[in-house]
């Protein structure tokens, strides 16, 4: 049985089912409130959710039992008395070390928990980056949306921030450096300065079996890094568009990646009214459309950056994605065929499978 945590504009929906048929909604939490992201920590079973109440501000909540009470995590705030308030938590990711959980938010803030998500602390190294005054928000804000641990090496981490590029640490977040070489932004003048940070990364995913390899969906570009995010190569050739948000990988295959192209930044819908997931199995040298079971026409969907996830690996890799239309789709055979998971949920912000 697969569980999907579907974070929507009107609450968190828990869906359960098996690939091939619609899932059932088995629980709903935070009814009516925008839930940005929710994930189950596979180490503990704890579910963590970020909720941005329009009235009471952004919070992280956690529950060890979805039928029980949710508790508010402590410390999810910027320093008191400053000029900036936390706008939103975009992503929550279990770390490699015991009890470590990361959360990323707007404005470009990283929080770290060492007690499984019960309390968090702001990462000062990133918060006090000298270049921070030059960081620019994208359309969704200055969002830290991708947190990519390195399997087995808790001190190594890559971050993606829109629009402040890629940030890398090898010392557990004490110091950070940029990892932007090779990225070309069409919305900047030619020959930007070498330390340009206004780079609108949309999503990062690391290959589990070759962790120095990271795939990136950019704001106009799909990239691959083979040196842990230091430099990037464009691999978008063969896609109908190089604009999009989500990205998934098959953990068993370091040459694999899945993207969902949208027309362009000025028209953020599936091209030609056809919903297609594009798969590469040769590290981006070629792309194959996967759409058997997905809407072939008259479907103009928007899929946000957190709204795609994978579960398992190899031929039985499960893939799930949700759209702002409220539709959720799934595949139980690595994208070869697709089925409707749910049709009429509220606008989907994020999907997490376990």
């Amino acid at each position: 049985m697969t569980e999907l945590l579907v974070a929507t504009r009107k609450g968190l929906f828990v869906l359960e089912g098996d690939p091939g048929a619609p899932f059932e909604v088995t629980a709903r939490a935070f009814a009516g409130e925008p839930v940005e992201y929710a994930a189950r920590d596979p180490r503990t079973g704890r579910v963590l959710a970020s909720v941005t109440s329009p009235f009471y501000g952004p919070k992280i909540w956690y529950a060890d039992d979805l039928a029980g009470e949710w508790e508010q995590a402590d410390g999810v705030a910027l320093p008191d008395g400053g000029e900036t308030a936390l706008e939103r938590i975009w992503v929550i990711v279990p770390g490699e070390a015991d009890g470590v959980v990361y959360a990323g938010g707007d404005p470009g803030a990283l929080f770290e928990s060492r007690d499984g998500g019960a309390s968090f602390r702001l990462n000062r190294g990133l918060w006090e980056q000298p270049s921070r005054p030059r960081w620019q928000p994208g359309a969704g804000g200055l969002c830290l949306h991708s947190i990519v641990p390195w399997p087995g090496e808790p001190d190594r981490l890559a971050l993606g921030i829109s629009a402040a590029g890629v940030w890398l640490t090898d010392d557990g977040g004490a110091t950070w450096r940029r990892g932007n070489e090779g990225i070309v932004a069409r919305y900047l003048p030619d020959d930007p300065p070498a330390d340009e940070v206004a780079l609108c990364v949309h999503r990062l995913q690391r290959s589990a079996k070759r962790p120095e390899r990271i795939f990136m969906q950019f704001h106009g570009g799909v990239y691959r890094s083979d040196d842990a995010g230091e430099t990037w190569n464009d691999i978008a050739d063969g896609l109908p568009s190089d604009f999009g948000f989500p990205l998934a990988v098959d953990p068993a295959d370091p040459d694999s990646a899945y993207v969902i192209p949208l027309v362009a930044d000025t028209d953020r819908v599936t091209p030609g009214g056809s919903v297609r997931v594009y798969e590469t199995r040769d590290a981006g040298a070629s792309w194959t459309p996967r759409g058997d079971g997905l809407p072939p026409e008259h479907a103009y969907l928007t899929v946000l950056r957190g709204a795609m996830d994978q579960l398992g690996e190899g031929e039985s890799l499960e893939l799930y994605f949700g759209a702002t239309s409220g539709a959720v789709f799934g595949s139980g055979d690595a994208g070869a065929t697709w089925f409707d998971v749910a049709r009429h949920l509220p606008p989907v912000h994020a999907v997490a499978a376990s």
Partner: protein
């Protein structure tokens, strides 16, 4: 001493009390005192800057007011989610 009236989650965070006597010379001082006396309310009404959240309205004796508004000992202060926050 002025008294503050809370509803919904704010009431729950303040020990499930709908009315609390809180001391303060202004709305802002009073809200900070509420946070000190009931730490669970921290971050729910005021943000990290100390600013009233955009979609929270505060009324003194029925009149919408600002953080700087003075508060007298017999005043009634209502802290309410604003109509503008609904989506």
């Amino acid at each position: 001493m002025p008294f503050v009236r809370l509803r919904g989650p704010l009431k729950q965070l303040a020990g499930d009390r709908a009315e609390l006597a809180i001391d303060g010379g202004s709305v802002g001082e009073l809200l900070l005192a509420l946070e000190r006396e009931h730490p669970a309310t921290s971050g729910w009404i005021l943000d990290e800057r100390g600013a009233l959240r955009r979609h929270i309205n505060v009324f003194v004796n029925g009149e919408m007011c600002a953080q700087e508004t003075p508060v007298a000992p017999d005043d009634r202060i209502d802290v309410l989610p604003a109509l503008s926050g609904g989506r």
